[in-house]
Amino acid sequence: MIPYLACVLLFLIGLYVVISKRNLIKIVIGFSLIEYAVNLFFALVGFKKGALAPIITQPEQVRMGVARNFVDPVPQALVLTAIVIGLSTTALMLSLAMRLYEKYKTFDISEIRRLKG
């Protein structure tokens, strides 16, 4: 139970950073924290105590029924996909932050207020 709660805590820390920090780069970092929290949570979902990594290294293992003692490989595949998505969003977010810096010469969001509303 504790690892799951730690994920939720990490998520909340990330959310706090996104909401309260004024620096664009810190917001991106906070967002990454949120993402890691969710990915970690998802990876934990497939965990089984004492089970093996879902890799077959010898053809005979298939017949020996090793697969019955594997952790669930599906969440790992899904998390990998989510990490790839997270990579592209982080890259896009950073490039937007850089563009904002070029335009406004600051990373402080309280000074980036051309839009009202």
Partner: protein, 146 residues
């Protein structure tokens, strides 16, 4: 002198080839061991980024690299899509694997039907794509100013 110090450049020269080789290994063994197209592609991109950080970059060269990597990225995507469509045309199923390419025996390098080919396509796309992201962010420009 463009780029970083001599020590970094010599070490990069030694490391970059090994990194590329390792990336290629991970991509090609994607269907046998952990890793695969994405992990290997990241390694390939890391090697490229390392070289361009250590040796600095000329703007024109960077622009050409950017165009090249966007071409490689699109071809990787098209190759992956082509594999899917090949299964579709041959057996009515998108990404159909069985009976399309040489399946072979488990745990051999040449086996697994379309999976190694798909890993190569993904490796191409991720390697080129990450390098393109690096170039687009213009990270090397900031290093050069210091």
């Amino acid at each position: 002198m463009r780029g970083m110090s001599l020590i970094v450049q010599v070490m990069t020269g030694l490391l970059a080839g090994i990194l590329l080789l390792y990336g290629g290994y991970i991509i090609l063994h994607g269907h046998l061991t952990p890793g695969g197209g994405f992990a290997g592609g990241v390694l390939v991109a890391a090697a490229l980024i390392l070289v361009s950080l250590a040796f600095g970059a000329v703007e024109q060269v960077e622009r050409r690299e950017y165009i090249l990597s966007s071409i490689f990225e699109s071809s990787g995507g098209l190759l992956f899509l082509g594999l899917a469509v090949a299964g579709y045309l041959a057996a009515d199923y998108f990404f159909r694997n069985a009976g399309l390419f040489y399946i072979g025996r488990p745990l051999e390098l040449v086996s697994g039907g379309i999976i190694p080919l798909a890993n190569i396509a993904i490796g191409l796309k991720v390697g080129a794509g990450l390098f393109a992201i690096f170039l687009a962010l213009g990270a090397s420009r900031f290093v050069m100013k210091e």
